[in-house]
């Protein structure tokens, strides 16, 4: 029996390209001289990681959220409160925050999906959740209200604070690679296949024996864990969090935007989107001081992407690799 060319995932050319990109990413902080350039790179990797959180729910499972910053904010506050108020080691706090993010994801998933919320209704409920957390963080004593939480400077590896910006860059690179790893695993696993089936057609997925509610809850838990991991990292890097940083609509939109522009439901979409938007943002900032100009440009880019490349920038690459006999970018 012909095995139907069983393993054709990833072309050799693709592997070389990925290897090369990895080398560039690792060497980048050593090649550039300014801290600013390192920070730009760090932020792109970090945004790509946060985008991956949205990508898993919105891209793979088709559950488009408008309030994904709730996971980021929850992770950030968890870390800050545990470290500052309870004196817990930041590394431990990070791990705990990831757990809390997963629980929040599962809870939000259970509450929304049990009542069959889909599409724009799910987007609205997540937006409401994020807003609710913002209001709570603004008024609760444990979050110190609108003042926010300042993490005292205590540099050292055990305190997860580093003088050298390059260390944070490498941590962000590690996070980004972990995010890519998770997305890559989803592409090749039963769990991921089920999520994609749910995205494409929930009724058909049910008919084929998929426990839709359970898979969706698992998916949001995973997505929440990643978002919270990003939030913790943010607090350790900037040593400050307040309700508007944690739960802003802008961050929810950014997580969604980088993924949609790069390519939702693909492994590398968020990284591509974060890179393009990150560089575009830096470029506009260097050309003009006008506040919010970069947002205008993001908007224009998004319109063009939706009009001409509904599957994101990455579909440009996929088209070429498809011709070469490959798939799964």
């Amino acid at each position: 029996m012909n095995q139907g060319n069983p393993s054709r995932d990833g072309t050799p050319g693709g592997r070389w390209l990925l290897g090369l990109l990895l080398v560039v990413a690792v060497a980048y902080p050593l090649l550039v001289s300014s801290n600013y350039a390192v920070d730009v790179g760090m932020f792109i990797l970090f945004t790509a990681f946060l985008g991956q959180s949205w990508n898993i729910a919105g891209g793979f499972a088709g559950q488009m959220s408008f309030g994904h910053t709730m996971f980021f904010g929850m992770g950030a506050y968890c870390s800050a409160i545990l470290v500052v108020t309870y004196g817990i080691n930041p590394w431990v706090a990070w791990a705990l925050a990831i757990g809390v993010g997963a629980c929040l994801g599962a809870a939000v998933g259970f509450l929304s999906f049990r009542f069959g919320l889909r599409g724009s209704y799910f987007a609205l409920i997540t937006l409401a959740f994020a807003e609710m957390f913002r209001v709570l963080a603004d008024s609760a004593a444990i979050t110190r209200g609108g003042l926010g939480i300042l993490v005292p400077v205590r540099q050292g590896f055990d305190q997860l604070q580093f003088v050298d910006g390059r260390t944070f860059y490498y941590i962000a690179l590690g996070l980004c690679l972990a995010g890519l790893g998770i997305a890559g695993w989803l592409k090749r696993s039963r769990f991921g296949a089920r999520l994609e089936a749910i995205r494409e057609n929930e009724d058909a997925a049910r008919a084929l024996g998929i426990h839709v509610l359970k898979e969706k809850i698992k998916c949001l838990a995973l997505s929440g864990a990643i978002g919270a991991a990003g939030g913790s990292f943010y607090v350790q890097k900037y040593l400050y969090i307040d309700p508007h940083l944690a739960f802003s609509v802008a961050r929810s939109v950014e997580m969604l935007l980088v993924t949609m522009i790069g390519g939702a439901g693909t492994v590398f979409g968020p990284l591509v989107g974060a890179t393009v938007l990150g560089l575009l943002g830096e470029l506009t900032r260097s050309l003009s001081d006008a506040q919010g100009l970069s947002l205008v440009i993001y908007g224009v880019v998004l319109i063009f992407i939706i009009a001409f490349l509904p599957n994101g920038l990455i579909s440009l690459l996929q088209r070429r690799s498809r011709k070469a006999g490959g798939r799964n970018a």
């Binding site: 029996m1 012909n2 095995q3 139907g4 060319n5 069983p6 393993s7 054709r8 090749r188 696993s189 039963r190 296949a193 089920r194 994609e196 089936a197 995205r199 494409e200 057609n201 009724d203 058909a204 997925a205 049910r206 008919a207 084929l208 024996g209 998929i210 426990h211 839709v212 439901g265 798939r327």
Partner: protein, 246 residues
């Protein structure tokens, strides 16, 4: 194998299915026919757990499955296909079939191998890595069947798998369905194409306005005056003449 007892489904005050009882024996091919809007698809959806019945019971292999969630019913070996095909559009044919196959293995390699066997069996081997959007109507109907087969059903509910097919395609799929049955899968099918019903089914139920109006072997059912009336209107049996008296 499957016993449907006085199953009813109401939408508002209207009975879409009214106390319908059906029996399907192990290894049989049973057809459900009836004019448009008779409630066939509703009956299917209610049997398969997609709709909650307003009365009656569904018993599968001696076990009451009335009101059970769809995925549990699927795990017990009953799976349905859709009249309006519901492919996972952005996935390939292989990935579509693998979704069903994944009920029995968590290994991607194994799932792909089993999906390949099924694709070959239903004649889609050459389409294996094609996006499912590129399939013709006939291809999509086949994909519905293939996906359902992936879950290894004991009882397959097929909702109009012949609709929109040309005679050649129909002959092929009739052969496939017969082959599936010969491998031990029991089949209940909704069909409009009488030629297919006549050549496949051993027993036919006729549904009209939500009620079962006739049943029996296909040849007998098509001569039943009540059935002719349901399809062609009152007194049609007399107008057609012959030895039938309504």
């Amino acid at each position: 194998m499957l016993e449907v007892v006085e199953l009813s489904k109401r939408f508002g005050g209207l009975y879409a299915v009214n106390q319908a009882s059906i029996q399907v024996g192990q290894g049989q091919i049973v057809a459900l026919i009836g004019p448009n809007g008779a409630g066939k698809t509703t009956l299917f959806a209610t049997i398969a757990g997609f709709l909650q019945p307003d009365g009656g019971r569904v018993v599968l292999n001696g076990r009451d499955i009335t009101g059970m969630p769809v995925h549990e019913i699927c795990a017990l070996g009953m799976v349905r296909t859709f009249q309006i095909t519901q492919p996972f559009s952005r996935l390939t044919v292989a990935e579509n079939i693998m979704v069903g196959v994944y009920q029995h293995t968590s290994s991607r390699r194994e799932a792909r191998r089993l999906a390949w066997e099924i694709a070959e069996y239903v004649g889609m081997g050459h389409l294996f890595d094609l996006p499912s959007t590129e399939l013709t109507v006939a291809g999509r109907k086949r994909l519905e069947l293939a996906r359902a087969l992936g879950t290894r059903p004991q009882l397959l509910l097929l909702d109009e798998v012949m609709a929109g097919l040309n005679p050649t395609e129909m002959a092929e799929i009739i052969g496939i369905i017969r082959g599936v049955r010969d491998r031990g899968v029991t089949i209940l099918l909704i069909e409009h194409v009488m030629q297919a019903v006549m050549s496949l089914a051993e027993h036919v139920y006729v549904l009209s306005e939500g009620k079962l109006i006739a049943q029996g072997p296909p040849a007998a059912v098509t001569r039943d005056p009540a059935v002719i009336e349901a399809y062609l209107g009152k007194n049609a049996a007399q107008l057609l003449g012959g030895d039938v008296h309504a």
